[in-house]
């Protein structure tokens, strides 16, 4: 019986799955297109400021009947940047 108790309620699965499906239905944006948008965004922002490309996340979230594109782009701090530059002593 334990496996039954461990299972998530099916209504929760329905809601979570619908949240994702509705985002794609409403925006007409496929996961592949979202990835390509993310790559373009990283490239553009990197021209101006140093970021950590592996830590960038981009998502479409529901906000009532409208959708919101939310990007989280961590910046590399100046101190760390210096430290990473070759030929210079760290610190």
């Amino acid at each position: 019986m334990a496996f039954l108790f461990g299972r998530k309620k099916s209504a929760n699965s329905a809601k979570e799955r619908l949240q994702l499906v509705l985002i794609h239905d409403r925006t007409d944006l496929t996961p592949a297109e979202l990835d390509s948008l993310k790559d373009d965004l990283i490239e553009t922002i990197s021209r101006h400021i140093e970021i950590d490309p592996t830590a960038v996340t981009i998502n479409v979230t529901l906000d009532g009947r409208s959708q919101r594109l939310v990007a989280d782009i961590p910046l590399r701090s100046v101190g760390r940047r210096r430290g990473r530059e070759p030929g210079r002593a760290a610190g």
Partner: protein, 261 residues
Amino acid sequence: MTAKVVTVASGKGGVGKTTSVANIAVALASRGQKVTCIDGDIGLRNLDVILGLENRIVYDLVDVIEGRCRLRQAMIRDKRLPELYLIPAAQTRDKTAVSPSDMVRLCDELRQEVDWIIIDSPAGIERGFKNAIAAADRVVVMTNPEVSAVRDADRVIGLLDAEEKGPAALVINRLDPVMVKRGDMLSVEDVLDLLAVELIGIVPEDENVIVASNRGQPLALDGKSKAGQAFQNIARRLMGEQVPFMDLDSQNLFQRLLGRK
């Protein structure tokens, strides 16, 4: 007299549009309103059998539009209520026999005669749906607490916004409070979170709906069943009344006393 035109749509088939149109129309008529309902599902008419008026059809919607009869001749009067009429769909034609502007013209003529025009949209989002919403002042979107019905309702709500027919009013049909409590059915709150529209009705799952359709006597004719009451409440809300949503848990009191969860 200037009628309000209300279209009931859903995207997905089988969620209860026709049953709702019949019951909302009956409920409005039982409140002294003059109501005409129009079956917009050309080729697959059903509102006539749900209302129990299938043996009285002489002319249909397409006959009116193509000028073979006058509007009045196609309006079948339901004798159980003072002022309830049905304009049936044509059964041997398809949706291309009617255009959105035909529907606007027909409803403009009808608006002078009644208080309410309730249009039953066919499933889908193509021509039949476009015809059904063309003249609408308000669109009621029906859904069930199931993934496919909610997804299709969202598409319809989006299309209504795009056609400037929004904001839609939502009816959640066939809600089973026991399943919701168990966590095996989307709750009203879940559906509203997802669709983010105004709620105008919650209709509980009720086997009386099938019994009523077997007999051709819509539930709202006698307001005893839960579903019948829910449709009466929707009619009152359409009329502008503030009506609290029913406490659906109370119907499980008996089950609770028996110790069921």
